[in-house]
């Protein structure tokens, strides 16, 4: 948050060595992909989208692997109940097909772009009252649950 209270404006940056794309307020000092220093140049959103291969699809299994990898080393895990996880993945992928992004099936998008970024799965559920400080905490939909000890 800037001093004036407005959120900082994120922009797209491209590594001139390996075409790694970063979306953020500042470019990385070192490219995490090719390790080049001071390699990022500001680019347009349209250019970034083309570089990022919008045709590169991700299926449910690949997404499941991705969120399991994301959860590894964290205090939470993907819900071990396969039926519940399958239902939620179905909803997430239906929402992506019908509404453009992997929106949470247990919340409704508002049609306010910035607001709806908050409900893309995985969302920042660590701050939600259904998770924070709770021994059996879980995200609102239940796809992520606090790891059992």
């Amino acid at each position: 948050m800037s001093a004036g209270g407005n959120p900082p404006v994120k922009k797209y940056w491209r590594c001139f060595v390996c075409n790694d794309v970063h979306y953020g307020v500042k470019p990385p000092g070192i490219c995490p992909t090719c390790l080049a220093r001071n390699a990022y140049v500001l680019i347009s959103a349209a250019e970034a989208l083309k570089i990022c291969r919008p045709d590169a699809a991700m299926g449910k299994e690949e997404f499941l692997e991705a969120i399991r990898a994301f959860a590894e080393g964290n205090e939470f895990e993907v819900n071990p109940d396969p039926e519940k996880a399958a239902t939620l993945l179905e909803g997430i992928f239906n929402n992506e097909a019908n509404h453009g992004l992997k929106y949470c099936p247990c919340r409704l998008r508002t049609k306010d772009f910035d607001e709806d970024l908050k409900i893309i799965c995985p969302c920042n559920f660590l701050i939600h009252e259904t998770y924070k400080g709770l021994e059996n905490g879980e995200c609102w939909c239940g796809l992520f649950v606090r790891r059992s000890r």
Binding site: L88, G91, I92, H99, C106, L108, T110
Partner: protein, 92 residues
Amino acid sequence: MNKLIMFHGQECPHCRRMMPLVAALEKETGIVIEKLEVWHNEQNADLMRSYRPVIAAGCGGQLRVPTFFNTETSDLMCGEVEYETLKEWASR
């Protein structure tokens, strides 16, 4: 006249678990709760959005499902609840 609505999502596990409780409540009391799916029906979604100031204020700032909403009194609950809690809300 009071109108009771359950906003729900087709692939929301919490909504699915509440459905039998709603059915049991309707059978026991004769109260009718209109069930409106919001992710596959844009008309229902727009209706829920029209109540956003009230619903978001009572549901963590967001439009969560399931949400149980009384259109007359704006009395609402969101998330899974026990049968008696649901009955108490519907009977107010």
